[in-house]
């Protein structure tokens, strides 16, 4: 790094920018990319080596802080800062947990890393482990990702055999091992404290905070939890430097993110994009635009309130602050298009049903409100039995749930409900008044 303060180049905020290069996802989908041989022949484990052999743990944390990366698991907490929350080393075992439970509807960015580039994740975990002085990593993968599990299992074995996991990594006295743990079908296990309960063999109810994981996480020991792409990003931040990473994005949001476009789009898929890119560029230019008329899009996974499909929202830069200001969240970057002729009440019933199914049942508003009452109300409306006052009741019950629950799952359900009422109230009113949807159900199944 030079001392001279050069003029700061303009940040990259578009895939059209020739300086942008797909990095984390570079080898996803490439044949054999999941093998150690492939990974190593493409520069694999160099970043970990660099970190362990030439940097102090605090330097790694500083580098992460400097990069400006925020967690990609949904909550968007600054990763470097989170790492610095670990208590001073006191001889107790410390853990880094990789949250690969990815179950937020609309999200599938982690899955491809797990399946096609497991070593990248392992390397990211080693770096994180080194940074926070944790010699054990826990990789919690959702149970349905069996291919990912198999590949990770093999990758860990291979890495161990190659001396990339275990004792004396890269000739130093740093040691590191990874415990691979499979979930079994419960969205709540994505919530970090529920994940820890699940891992420890308890029912996966979220835990009380404080204590936070850094004080008492896995087995009540100091722990840091990060998402798959947060950790994999560390490989490149350490490899290419924080400046490279923060050269992408806006002042508010740095680096790249992985958006997943689903719903009626021509080229549905996962795209690595610089932060600050507009939703329009993602939806039209990368994903090829909608295949049918669309009325709304969800910006970051089903829990993020939807936006109407209008210029105002499409031209909005994808950054934490702007999206929050507009009333939603960046979330996991799961962008879902909702077609014009899909009944919004029906669509929301689907969302509500998901959260109803996934509620852990610990607290009352979620168990009784989200898991019981809301779906009943939606079912009633969809069955054509809506009555005057039902919408107001729905709004009132929603307001009684929002902000009252033990963990954010209930809010994750209520926020989209409230957004749908805000933007598409006439559809609710229509179904209640006429006893049928404004947009009758039609087959959406391709041959």
């Amino acid at each position: 790094m030079s001392d001279a303060v050069a003029e700061k180049p303009k940040a990259i905020t578009s895939r059209h920018d020739p300086r942008f290069e797909v990095t984390l996802y570079k080898y996803i989908g490439v044949e054999n990319s999941h093998t150690l041989e492939f990974y190593q022949s493409h520069g694999g484990y160099e970043s970990a080596k660099k970190a362990i052999t030439s940097m102090k743990p605090v330097d790694v944390v500083e580098e992460m802080k400097k990069s400006g990366i925020r967690g990609r698991g949904g909550a968007g907490f600054p990763t470097g800062l989170k790492w610095s929350f670990m208590p001073p080393v006191d001889g107790r075992q410390r853990y880094i947990v990789c949250n690969a439970d990815e179950s937020e509807p609309g999200s599938c960015k982690d899955r491809y890393v797990l399946e096609d580039d497991p070593h990248q994740l392992i390397e990211g975990m080693i770096i994180a482990g080194y940074a926070i002085s944790a010699t054990k990593g826990v990789l919690y993968i959702r149970g349905e990702y069996y291919l990912g599990y198999e590949r990770l299992y093999k990758a860990i074995q291979d890495a161990k055999a190659a001396g990339l996991l275990g004792k004396n990594l890269f000739g130093t006295d740093f040691e590191y091992e990874i415990i691979l743990h499979r979930g079994a079908g419960a969205y709540i296990c994505g919530e970090e404290s529920a994940l820890m309960n699940s891992f420890e063999g308890f029912r996966a109810n979220p835990r009380l905070k404080p204590p936070f994981p850094a004080q008492a996480g896995v087995y009540s020991l100091p722990t840091t939890v990060n998402n798959v792409t947060s950790l994999a990003s560390a490989v490149h931040i350490i490899g290419k430097g924080a400046d490279w990473f923060s050269g992408m994005g806006t002042d508010d949001s740095k680096g790249f993110h992985h958006v997943q476009v689903s719903g009626p789009a021509k080229r549905r898929g996962v795209y690595e994009v610089p932060m600050g890119i507009s939703y329009r560029e993602i939806i039209f230019d990368l994903a090829g635009g909608p295949t049918e008329e669309v009325k709304a899009f969800i910006p970051g996974g089903s829990s993020c309130p939807m936006f109407p499909f209008t210029d105002q929202y499409l031209d909005m830069p994808m950054e934490y602050a702007s999206v929050a200001k507009a009333g939603s969240m960046l979330g996991t970057g799961g962008i879902m298009l909702i077609p014009q002729n899909k009944c919004m009440v029906d669509a929301l019933y689907n969302v509500v049903r998901f959260y109803a199914h996934e509620s852990c049942g610990k607290c009352t508003p979620c168990r009784e409100g989200v898991s019981t009452w809301l779906p009943s109300m939606y079912k009633k409306m969809l069955a054509g039995l809506g009555e005057k006052g039902d919408l107001e009741l729905l709004e009132d019950v929603s307001s009684n749930i929002r902000g009252r629950s033990f963990c954010p799952l209930a809010d994750a359900c209520i926020m989209p409900v409230q957004a749908s009422i805000k933007h598409f109230r006439p559809e609710y009113e229509y179904i209640i008044e006429h006893g049928k949807s404004m947009y009758p159900r039609q087959s959406r199944w391709a041959d």
């Binding site: 419960a186 709540i188 308890f202 029912r203 009380l208 009540s220 109803a356 199914h357 996934e358 509620s359 852990c360 049942g361 610990k362 607290c363 009352t364 508003p365 979620c366 168990r367 009784e368 409100g369 898991s371 019981t372 009452w373 009943s376 009633k380 009741l393 019950v397 307001s399 009684n400 749930i401 902000g403 009252r404 629950s405 033990f406």
Partner: protein, 793 residues
């Protein structure tokens, strides 16, 4: 720490929960999941309130509110669950605002949407937290028009507890209780989300303290099966008393209706049992309402017992007594007799000039320690050595040891009592099992929770203790060191040690050497009190066993049944007078000249002294006992016949006497009782067997009443003969066989329970008041199978 609740300013200890701050301020906030003595978990979300606090600037000064010149209050964006929020300096809690009210009302509504409207047929009706809170915080009408969740309504979790799954509001108190209090995880949530329900795959909830969940369930989901559908809460008379089931002095509430006891609940004694009681105490009351109670005095006429008046009966007795010379009469009380009864018996003995007076069962050594440990000592001990089957002898000792394992000191009481949400308590706290060592002649329950346990050959207590005192084995040395090193160490001694004067002496030496306090587990509820009042024979020859084998010419026994022993029965035939004061006809009443109706422990008024030396009041529940009296009543009636106003002729008279000697007014004891120091009595030695093939062991379920406690009988399968599976096989016995067998001259009816926790070559069976803990010879040839266990192919 200064906090403000609405308009009330308070100064509270750091770490206090916001919900306790609200109650301390005299305001109310609804709650369901929080429960005294258990971890707050923030699950029900009823206790929401608007909460704010000031913030500090970087330089440590408060961020000020320009308008008021006061520190600016930053409110949390959402109402907070006050049970899981710790107070902060300057915190402001608002329980009266519209936001708070809407949050609480909304949560109340959600609690009710799936709750069945069966209050009219629910046992909890009138004492239901949900019902009460719905009145206070509910809207009065329901906006939930859908079918409520349907689920099993009469699910027998065990023989003793019935679950109505529809009523459950998922507060998790019951699940947490098992994990946090007894440490038996036998109940859990099954499924998730709206489908979540309470369930178990363990048969019959294997915990000795399962019944407490029926007390803490805030709704009628968990009910005591013995009392289900027997009455509405407002029809019951609630009497707070002290349990006479064991030496703990646990507080109970006796619920009676139309003259009979319907249920026993735990009452709060913060110093003793907190909110809990064991299952033996809770479910073991049915005998008292048994229809075959003796209701009137009876006199043997022409070989047959016939009902007579008290006058006639006592006249008969007095005539006989007058013919006796000094020291010919024996008087024996069971060891759960009250202090007042003890005083009455002593005064009678004095008047009749006899030194033959005793209480039984008792041990060869004193149960009063020179350096006694209290329950709170036990609960805060840094090292505990148990040489007993504590769980069976005094179950509360087991529970309070588990407090010590959690390492959380008993909470400081607040203006409103026990903190509702003690933030130091957590779910699944690690247990310091390392501080607990347990030694017993067979595997006892407590060993599951102890890092160090030892099963020694029966009768070798002396050797075991020597190894520790002499530090002659590694384990013994380690134990002695840990007892010495701990700031507070407690040694718990039960019958196996106390039965041997030599072992007791060694245990006392160990305590002295290590500085440990000692908790001695008395045989029965008032062993401590009766010994301290010297209800003891004037000399060893006058002890109760001796009275039975000829030292007495006449005998008055209360609550004891010596004729169960065939040999003793023969000897009793020779007595000039046999008076039996008891609840039921039995082997001894069959020989008695006079039979007198006694009060059960739920009907007496009096005082007992628990194993800490704590004086506790026993209060009578309004129960129809016919003409039953306690021993003071008997002394009054007899005094009338003798034309003598004897001391101790009433509870009041006995208390007058005791006030002088104790300097304690027993009619004005505080609810949690009073500890007064006491010296060991002159305990005359009792002979104990040093050999035998069977061991009589303590049992929290009182074996003498088990036949009349139908629910307990069903859940335990009756009095058990436990033996190693290999022994069972060699004696041709299989599980659930019901046998009758002669044990030390007693005919016992037992159900066979092979168990790995019994050492080979030893058989265990529950002790009786007349056949106390110790070795005994079981006559293998006398075994008769009454009922052969159903073989499952």
């Amino acid at each position: 720490m200064k906090v403000k609740v609405n308009d009330v300013e308070l100064d509270l200890a750091p770490g206090t929960s916001a919900i306790d701050a609200v109650f301390a301020a005299g305001y109310d906030v609804p709650y369901f999941c929080s429960q005294e003595y258990m971890s707050p978990i923030g699950a029900c979300r009823m206790c929401l309130a608007v909460v704010g606090a000031p913030r500090k600037e970087r330089d440590g000064s408060w961020t000020m509110d320009e308008a008021t010149g006061q520190p600016k209050i930053f409110y949390f964006p959402n109402p907070m669950a006050t049970c899981t929020t710790a107070i902060m300096e300057g915190m402001v809690i608002d329980t009266l605002s519209d936001v708070t009210k809407k949050a609480q009302g909304g949560m109340m509504e959600m609690h009710l949407i799936n709750h069945p409207l069966d209050c009219p047929t629910c046992d909890k009706g009138g004492a239901c937290e949900l019902q009460d809170r719905a009145y206070e915080y509910g809207s009065g009408h329901s906006r939930f028009i859908f079918d409520k969740r349907h689920n099993e309504k009469h699910h027998a979790l065990s023989e003793l507890i019935t679950l109505d799954r529809e009523r459950c509001i998922h507060c998790k108190r019951c699940v947490r209780y098992f994990e946090e209090v007894p440490g038996d995880e036998v109940l859990d949530f099954i499924e998730r989300g709206g489908h979540t329900f309470i369930g178990t795959v363990e048969e019959g909830l294997p915990s000795n303290f399962s019944g407490n969940i029926t007390d803490i369930c805030p709704v009628g989901a968990l009910l005591d099966t013995t009392s289900r559908f027997r009455g509405r809460n407002w029809e019951y008379d609630h009497t707070r008393s002290t349990s006479l089931d064991d030496a703990s002095g646990s507080a109970i509430t006796i619920d009676a209706r139309t003259g009979r006891i319907e249920r026993i609940k735990a009452a709060l004694n913060t110093q003793v049992n907190k909110n809990w009681i064991d299952d033996g105490t809770r479910f073991g009351h049915e005998y008292a309402a048994s229809s075959d109670r003796i209701k009137t005095p009876m006199l043997r006429k022409n070989g047959k017992l016939e009902p007579v008046t008290w006058e006639e009966a006592t006249l008969f007795i007095s005539e006989k007594l007058k013919k006796l010379s000094d020291n010919q009469l024996g008087i024996a009380l069971r060891s759960d007799a009250t202090l007042e009864e003890g005083v009455a018996a002593k005064s009678l003995a004095e008047y009749l000039k006899t030194g033959q007076i005793d209480h039984y069962p008792r041990y060869a050594s004193s149960v009063i320690s020179a350096n006694p440990a209290s329950f709170n000592d036990l609960a805060t001990a840094g090292a505990i050595f148990v040489m007993a089957d504590a769980t069976e002898e005094v179950p509360m000792v087991d529970l309070r040891i588990k407090d010590a394992l959690k390492g959380v000191t008993p909470p400081t009481l607040m203006a409103h009592g026990v903190p509702i949400a003690d933030l130091r308590l957590k779910e699944r706290m690690p247990r310091k099992t390392n501080i607990l060592s347990v030694a017993a002649p067979y595997r006892v329950d407590l060993m599951k929770y102890a890092a160090h346990s030892m099963v020694y050959p029966t009768g070798t207590e002396v050797e075991v203790l020597k190894q520790i005192i002499d530090a002659s084995t590694d384990a013994g040395k380690a134990l002695k060191e840990s007892l010495s090193a701990a700031e507070k160490a407690v040694i718990v001694l039960g019958a196996f040690v106390l039965n041997s004067a030599e072992a007791s002496k060694l245990a006392d030496d160990l305590a002295k050497a290590t500085g440990a306090k000692v908790m001695k587990l008395g045989a029965m509820a008032n062993s401590f009190g009766l010994e301290s009042q010297d209800v003891l024979p004037a000399k060893a020859d006058y002890s109760y066993p001796n009275m039975l084998s000829g030292s007495a010419k006449a005998l008055i026994v209360s609550g004891l049944n010596p004729a169960q022993n065939a040999e003793v029965a023969q000897a009793l035939l020779k007595l000039e007078l046999l008076v039996v004061h008891d609840l039921f006809e039995n082997e001894t009443t069959a020989l008695a000249h006079v039979v007198l109706p006694a009060k059960s422990g739920y009907e007496k008024e009096g005082t007992v002294v628990n194993l800490e030396g704590r004086y506790l009041n026993v209060n009578p529940a309004p129960v129809d006992g016919g003409q039953a009296v306690d021993f003071t009543g008997f002394v009054k009636e007899l005094g009338d016949a003798l034309n003598e106003r004897l001391e101790g002729r009433s509870v009041r008279s006995a208390r007058r006497l005791l006030k002088k000697s104790l300097e304690l007014d027993l009619s004005e004891l505080p609810l949690e009782g009073t500890i007064a120091s006491a010296k060991a009595g002159k305990v005359a030695g009792l002979k104990t067997n040093t050999s035998g093939n069977a061991l009589l062991v303590p049992s929290m379920v009182r074996s003498e009443y088990l036949n009349r406690n139908a629910h307990l009988f069903a859940s335990t399968g009756g009095n058990a003969l436990r033996l190693h599976p290999a022994d069972a096989a060699s004696h041709n016995l299989s599980a659930h066989d019901v046998i009758s067998v002669s044990v030390g001259g007693f005919k016992r009816r037992l159900s066979v329970q092979p168990s790995e926790s019994v050492p080979e070559g030893m058989m265990l069976l529950p002790a009786l008041p007349d056949q106390p803990v110790g070795l005994v010879q079981l006559d293998l040839n006398s075994i008769k199978k009454e009922q052969v266990a159903l073989e499952v192919a």
